[in-house]
Amino acid sequence: MTALLPRRGLAQIFALIVILMVDRAVSPQFFDLRLQDGRLFGSMIDVLNRGTPVALLSLGMVLVIATRGIDLSVGAVMAISGAIAASLADSHGLPVVLAAALGAGLVCGLWNGFLVSILGMQPIVATLILMVAGRGIAQLITEGRIVTFTSPDLVWLGNGAILGVPVPVAIALGMLILTGAVVRGSALGLLIEATGGNARASELAGVGTRAMILAVYVWCGVCAALAGVIAAADIMGADANNAGLWLELDAILAVVIGGTSLFGGRFSLLLAVLGALIIQTMNTGILLSGYPPEFNLLVKAVVVLAVLLLQSPKLTGMAGIVARIRGTKA
């Protein structure tokens, strides 16, 4: 049976369906959809919309992790780009705002990439620097307060709709297609996997591993900056203290749930985004369930553990053995 189906992605899809069913059970109107002011409205839309920042982060993170790296600074980069976007929103047009915010993400990515690929620092330490400093930079930009704006263009990025689909969701989808086209439409994805699999061997085989590593951190920075702009647009303000706080961990979790190994090598963009959706489906379900908030983290931990156990080759292997023994007994 399992041999007939594609092995990869099965566990994630199964997990998502189970969590969706649980959500439906705790909240009977979970799949209800209606139009509200030209925008689709319902819990499923909340899942997609609220899952957007982590989905965007995971798009960059999965490439970084594929090179055997990690980027802890994405949450702080979100705070920086959100702060820049909010400070410029009411005095400049959307193109300028976006260019400045995404440019900041690009610079942050270059910095991380420089430390890791040129100076050879360990990724976890190199990006820890910006994780700490970045939030400080964001606080300097906002002077420690929540900077609000009313610019309708920027607000549209967070709260608007294209044919009923919330703009953030459309952006995330666009970014997934774009990243997929660039990475899988060329040999780039393979080269990234080679770099993560064995950097030295790849280097000897003629892969520009340094350039690969620099490029993935830059892309990760840009994705994080975009997530930051959307998060700021959503609440019509930049909250440097809280924007993107701990989201780097959710992004790493999404990538891992998506089956990409922290030791680098083979990766899947689609499954990383699916991982982000699994996390958000669970979060929304917890909020809908009406359980006391003290349970939130516990439920989350148990579900994550279950999803990861589903993917564990040893455990599924053991289950196979148990099934075979039972089969022979019967």
């Binding site: 307060r145 709260n159 909020l287 908030p293």
Partner: protein, 321 residues
């Protein structure tokens, strides 16, 4: 030897420099936590205003959220022989040694906004703090009075789980709800005191309560979560302030903006003016030797749409919130 002499000389010089300009003027050292939040920034600016109003020379030392910096600042205030020390303690323990030094130097200490461990009770003159249980109760009383006898389903946006402010603001509100059987908290979740989470949690409340039609009021443990919740309600086609009553705590400028737009109903102020009462206490203590009570509770003032929210907004927006 020369080094010691130099040190002594510079210490004397520092002491001379720090002497008040005129003999009657009080010099007070204020060890502030840092600028952790907008409210903290507002507290610092209001303290400066209140000191200027009373012609007190207020020296503020920013501790950047570190206790060792606060201890250093207090020691330097003692060395400068100030008339009194204000302390907003970043943590509640570890103050005994330095406060004893202040006591031996006969410099009265007033705690602002936060209390310290009971073991240090006799080491300070008084503590000026708000009562967060009372704040929750004031919010609850307003809601009870506004809805009257009508049945009302309330959804609650809690602060960060485990934070004492969140626990107390919930306790105060719940104590009022318990007295009014027509009030019922139907949903309660944490919004971590942030706008983004307040919005996300409110979105789920609206879905869980049949599109929000059965929600009669929202109670948020701080204004920021309420600002997020108001956006969520508007996006769901509800009219916050009319269809759904709102009451929250803190009185930050942005909630007054929402109030003047008719989208929020009430907020309970956590006053940034802790220094004002403290300055009055010190003046009375120095002049007549009046010993104040051990705890001075600040007023938890209720603001509603009838308090000219636009005016309050204008007066608050420059304070650094």
């Amino acid at each position: 030897m020369t080094l010691k002499a130099l040190f002594a000389a510079s210490a004397t010089a520092a002491l001379l420099l720090s002497l008040p300009a005129n003999a009657g003027q009080l010099t007070i050292g204020f060890s502030q936590i840092g600028s952790e939040s907008g409210w903290r920034a507002a507290e610092t600016s209001v303290s400066k205003q209140e000191a200027a109003k009373r012609q007190v020379n207020l020296k503020i030392a920013d501790a950047q959220q570190k206790q060792e910096n606060q201890i250093k600042a207090i020691r330097s205030f003692i060395a400068q022989n100030v008339d009194a020390i204000f302390l907003a303690p970043v943590v509640s323990t570890g103050w005994d040694a330095v406060l004893k030094e202040a006591k031996e130097a006969k410099i009265p200490v007033v705690l602002l906004d936060r209390d310290i461990d009971p073991s240090g009770k006799d080491l300070y003159l008084t503590a000026v703090t708000s009562d967060s249980v009372h704040e929750g109760a004031v919010a609850g009383e307003w809601l009870a009075k506004t809805v009257g006898e009508k049945a009302c389903n309330v959804v609650e946006l809690q602060g960060t789980v485990g934070a004492s402010v969140a626990t107390n603001r919930k306790k105060g509100f719940d104590s009022v709800v318990a007295k009014h059987p027509n009030l019922k908290v139907v949903r309660s979740q944490t919004g971590d005191f942030t706008r983004a989470k307040g919005k996300e949690v409110m979105e789920s409340f609206i879905k869980a309560e049949g599109g929000g039609k059965s929600i009669c009021a929202v109670y948020a443990h701080n204004d920021d979560m309420m600002v997020g919740a108001i956006q969520a309600m508007k996006e769901a086609g509800l009219k916050p302030g009319k269809d759904v009553l709102t009451v929250s705590i803190d009185a930050v400028p942005d909630i007054f903006k929402a109030m003047s737009a008719g989208e929020a109903n009430a907020t309970v102020e956590l006053t940034p003016n802790m220094a004002g009462p403290a300055l009055d206490v010190i003046a009375a203590f120095k002049d007549k030797g009046t010993v104040p009570p051990k705890w001075i509770q600040t007023e938890s003032k209720l603001y509603t749409a009838s308090d000219d929210p636009q005016k309050v907004y204008d007066s608050k927006k420059g304070l650094g919130y």
